[in-house]
Amino acid sequence: MDFQLPPYDLKMMLPEIFLFLWALVVFTFDLLTNRKKETAIGYLTLVGILITGVLLAFTGYGRGFGNMFFNDPMARFFKIIFLGAAFMAVGSSFGILKQRIRNHRGEYFGLILLSTVGMMFLASSQELLSLYIGLELTTIPLFVLAAFYKDDKLSVEAGIKYFIVGAFSSALLLYGISFLYGMSGTTDIVQMKINLAITHLTFTNIGMTLVIAVVTMLAGIGYKLGLPPFHQWVPDVYEGSPTPVAAFLSIGSKAAGLVAFAKIFVNGLSAFHGPEMLPNDWGQLVALMAILAMVLGNTVAIWQTNIKRMLGYSSIAQAGYIMIGMVTMNVYGLSSVAFYMFAYMFANMGAFAIVTVFEDKTGSTQIASYRGLSKSAPGLSLTLAIFLLSLAGIPPLAGFLAKYYVFAAAVEKANSADSASWLYWLVGVGLITTVFSLYYYANIIKQMYFSREDSPYKIPVSAPAMMVIAICLIGVILFGVWPEPILQFAGDIPASFGFIAR
């Protein structure tokens, strides 16, 4: 057998290869250099992510490695989100870098980069095996990162919970994948789509097997996305892990789960979403999970007293909104999901960045300690308020357009076919729960602004954290007012799944 890799293929993978090597550099850098310059390694990581971004910009669309590795608009869009999330997570880690992770700086940053490499591979994989490897490369470093404060019981608890849930969901997903492999005889997703349709037409009795596959895979990805009833780990892990890691989890890991979902379900099983394919239709199951997510996430969040837990429940709810876009299966659906994730990245990473700097100074993540913050730190309070309002979907911030786009996709679909009119319910629940969500987001604003007492805290913001917050602020406002370029980019995504505008 001839095992020569054509140089063209390697060029396709250049950003991933570079980032992987850079992760190794970061690992070793900490061992070899003077330990007194503690922030140098953080900047090194940031530079690596930036260079990867530049490389990504110069890597054109195409495919390599025998159709196993695709660089399509979807891959590129989500790679930008992954890199953005990593960049902001690293940028907001400088505070804990000085305080809590002094002895394991290389590991911390290296693992974030490795996890990002996994996400990027995942986004490009067009084949079940490499998809699975990408997913594992994403999550295994995250297990370690979640448990990174070794002496903090909360962090260790977050680590073990995330580990058990992560491994369990991988096993579930794999079990489903093995059946898909058995039914289609291939691991290539596009080929699988064709083979499954043929098998379904020739053998009428694959229905039950398909149901097992769909249910286990849905459970597996549901765990990764934190969709109820597989959501219990989310608040615990968010509360316990180091705050930048929680932020990274909420964007990076969620976007990775979405990509996996899109590839397996929206692309691979696209034939099995529709009234004619009952009882194999996965769409209504997902819709049910989305409804649960929106209702449960938004209501339980109201009672939270810890801001990280609250953001955890809010992220459950946001996953619900995103899944509305996923189940629509039309041109708008996928691009709305991508845009939602993009807008969500800025708002959520920004909010977490502020929570991080607040925690670095005060050691508290209680909502009550934000009382009166607007007087001692007016700028920070205003930005946090803007991020929260964007999460709640208030125009003219980016979060509003994202929600709008998702709902528009669903209404479009519901309007186009009678059999899809159940999507109206989804939109209805989404809208009502949006009002709920406003309540708990506004509650933090209320604590910061409406309290007559003064906050004792003056919050210093380090330069990198300031940069992260500024980027997020600009993103939230700019892409709310001028979203056209991103929407155009996101509009290219559905084509790679074979959806064409009517």
Binding site: L129, K153, V156, E157, F163, F168, A171, Y181, G240
Partner: protein, 99 residues
């Protein structure tokens, strides 16, 4: 083909049951391994009976074994942390956070 698939299904179910009910974290890890191995049996079976030529299923199984090993390493490291923090590895200890 059916007996192999049934064996895998039984192993998988035992694994799920173990993860849900085990009170010892090591026990949970072992149950997880059972689940991964059930998947491996599935993959190899499908490769043998459905796709007669080609090795994709067995290849997949090899990768799963490797990744499961990596996962177990991380898992055991976290178990060690639990032992250090709580002086025991019962999952009941690890319940500081409640909603």
């Amino acid at each position: 083909m059916f007996p192999y698939l049934a064996l895998a299904a039984i192993l998988f179910s035992i694994g799920i049951y173990g993860v849900m009910t085990r009170r010892n974290v090591i026990g949970i890890l072992m149950s997880l391994e059972l689940m991964f191995n059930a998947v491996n049996i599935n993959l190899v079976t499908f490769n043998k009976f459905i796709i007669a030529d080609g090795l994709s299923g067995q290849l997949f199984a090899v990768f799963v074994i490797v990744i499961a090993a990596a996962e177990a390493v991380v898992g055991l490291a976290i178990v060690l942390l639990i032992y250090r923090n709580w002086r025991g590895v019962k999952s009941d200890y690890v319940n500081v956070m409640k909603w």
